[in-house]
Symmetry: C2
Subunit: 403 residues, 2 copies
């Protein structure tokens, strides 16, 4: 006797995660080297060596410390170790010219845990959260956890930046928050500073018009994954009511460890209540706190970088080859996703034809945007290379001009 | 502009966790050795050395493995690594004569994460969850996350086992689940097998009467913490519709790491849907999966035991001394809590008088049971010894006969 919500969830389980299991099964059947699994945003470059060293040192130090491992593996405040929060604040301040103290940082169980904690803190049933299409489908679930609803904003289908005219129309008296995700999953687009300024301007005007706060939630797990000389950006400078959700999943290649943080700037309305509320939400939602050892390990790796050049090579090879094959793609500027327009209206058909050629891609409707697929190129160079002839076959199947 | 729920939460923030911060502040002011902080269930014995060794080995092995740390810190199925789940199943099977496969085990972000995932899977808004007073106050929050309500069942105030007559009255057509927590937080009582059989009998009768399933959720973080020759018990044998939520927080002294698991036996109604639903709930609630490295480390430490003798000494010293001082206490049989009847009706007064003497205790009303306090004796032997004269002063203050 399961809940109504679970019944629905079982019927429409995540396309992405279902494909994860399918990909593993295909790899077992055909050999991993013969399956081109572009379905999941699982980093392809190992964590920096410093992460393993940090973990080892922490374990060694705690074995030698008075009280042994009690502090390393023990409870702390729901918001995380103050030393870790201070280290994160200092790192951000140095990089982005901000002025955060430890109080502005709340450690969370990944960005997913952070978004849920933010949502519990600000959302009442019936509230609306605006998202820009295409968007990470689970935003819908996270809002539903608190009885709130997602309202979708149309993209400019050329640039895949938001259609700001539509944005203005979609902000209502019920809008409590707007999620922005740049560099973007699934398009790889980075919103231009001018776009961010316009979004901020619209939000300020709407706040005045509706006489209530609208928080901009910046979901930025791909902050450091930028190409072509694009600079890492930090969005609190555009709009006072910005709350940041970050994850170390991609930047330190540890998505399984569930570690991230939320930033609430002092400039945000009710900043103190937000900070306390998010800490309480950590507890009442069952996270309690971000995993302790990994909190401390991440704090020692804040200067580490993932191997951006590795992803960049995949990006170049795939983008160049696929466009040459006649596919229409958005040129990725960040993250590790390629957004491809399906040559037929029926994206299911395209995904299915891809699968026949051992190419696994996620259909755009999983991101609220049918007619496209997401190709997650966080895979080995070999997988990319080996996939090219399969993509050529796919182009051929759809009668594209390939060279 | 925070949510209504957060406003309420800020007003009535967890007494236990607030005291955690207060305890730290008092320790800084008066010196840790002069503060007798019995407020938090934070293990006092370090994690077994095997845990640190397991972590180190996993990091070393992953550094040497093909793909480096990708598997160790990467995504896996939402339910956890199959190897870890299989190891947990085998360990349970050997100890409790069960027959679980890996499919029956779902790794979770602690027991708190597990309970929330179970609740999402079975609870619809308006459902009721029966709990036995006194109970861990956050059950109420977890139920509220899904629009469900806690219904409280009175204890027998002599034994602090449930009053089964009241239990029968409190099960209604809306009851979807009953939580049992034995060894119990906050009383330290272990429910007798005869009690468990009666609870099971009542639930079976009520299932028939209301023609729907009622799940018994066994929240058992203290499973291994039993004294006086009591045997570790595993509750699935009493009642088919039992779901177990476990945490390694106490058994391996790592509450900060947020690692536990849920067991769904094949005998439970809709077992397959429950298993899938709990995996999906891991994702949609923002947990995604239990932390990866610690999953694997815990799987290597399943044969490890916490230092029960350490807690047992604290238990004996405190129980004997406090009863001699004239306090009325429930003799703890498990967990690491002493449940003490306040000598005055006004428990706030008692807690406050304790605090004046640097004794930190949690008021019973935090567990739905005013007129009592919880003394968490998961502290050093020294803290226990040093606290005794302060307890004597407290007894004196209330005019108890002390010897």
């Amino acid at each position: 006797m399961i809940s109504e919500r679970t019944k629905k969830a079982l019927a429409g389980s995540s396309a992405i995660r279902a494909m994860f299991v399918e990909g593993r099964e295909m790899a077992e059947k055909f050999g991993a080297e013969n399956v081109y699994d572009f379905s999941l945003g699982n980093p392809a470059t190992p964590a920096p060596a410093a992460l393993g060293e940090a973990i080892r040192s922490l374990v060694d130090e705690s074995a030698a410390a008075e009280g042994g491992s009690l502090e390393l593996h023990g409870y702390m405040e729901n918001a995380g170790y103050r030393t870790v929060r201070a280290a994160v604040a200092e790192n951000l301040n140095r990089r982005f010219d901000t002025a955060f103290g430890f109080e502005n940082i709340i450690m969370t169980v990944g960005a997913a845990g952070g978004l849920n904690a933010i949502f519990q803190t600000i959302l009442d049933p019936g509230d609306e959260v605006a998202v820009f299409v295409p968007f990470f489908g689970e935003y819908r679930e996270y809002a539903a956890n608190f009885g709130a609803e997602i309202v979708t904003v149309r993209p400019d289908f050329e640039t895949f930046e938001p259609d700001l005219t539509d944005f203005e129309l979609k902000i209502s008296g019920k809008t409590k928050a707007v999620i922005v995700n740049t560099p973007n999953n699934p398009t790889g687009v980075i919103y231009k500073p001018a776009t961010m300024k316009k979004i901020a301007g619209i939000l300020e005007e709407k706040q005045r018009a509706f006489s209530h706060d609208i928080y901009l939630i910046s979901d930025e797990p791909y902050r450091e994954l930028v190409y072509d000389g694009n600079k890492e950006d930090f969005l609190t400078k555009y709009y006072d009511n910005t709350i940041v959700g970050y994850s170390f999943s991609k930047s330190l290649s540890m998505p399984g460890e569930r570690i991230g943080y939320v930033v609430v700037p002092d400039e945000a309305s009710d900043a103190q209540e937000l900070i306390q509320g998010i800490g309480i939400a950590n507890r009442t939602l069952g996270f309690v706190n971000a995993p302790s050892l990994i909190q401390k390990a991440a704090a020692r790796c804040l200067e580490e970088k993932t191997d951006v050049a590795f992803y960049d090579e995949n990006r170049r090879v795939l983008y160049e080859r696929l466009t040459k094959l006649g596919f229409t793609c958005i040129r990725p500027e960040g993250a590790f996703y390629l957004w491809l327009k399906t040559p037929v209206q029926d994206e299911e058909d395209f995904v299915s034809e891809g699968k026949k050629r051992h190419i696994l891609m996620v259909k755009g409707s999983a991101f609220g945007c049918p007619g496209f697929v997401r190709i997650a190129y966080c895979v080995s160079h070999e997988t990319v290379r080996n996939s090219l002839s399969a993509f050529a076959e796919l182009a051929n199947h759809y009668g594209l001009c390939h060279t």
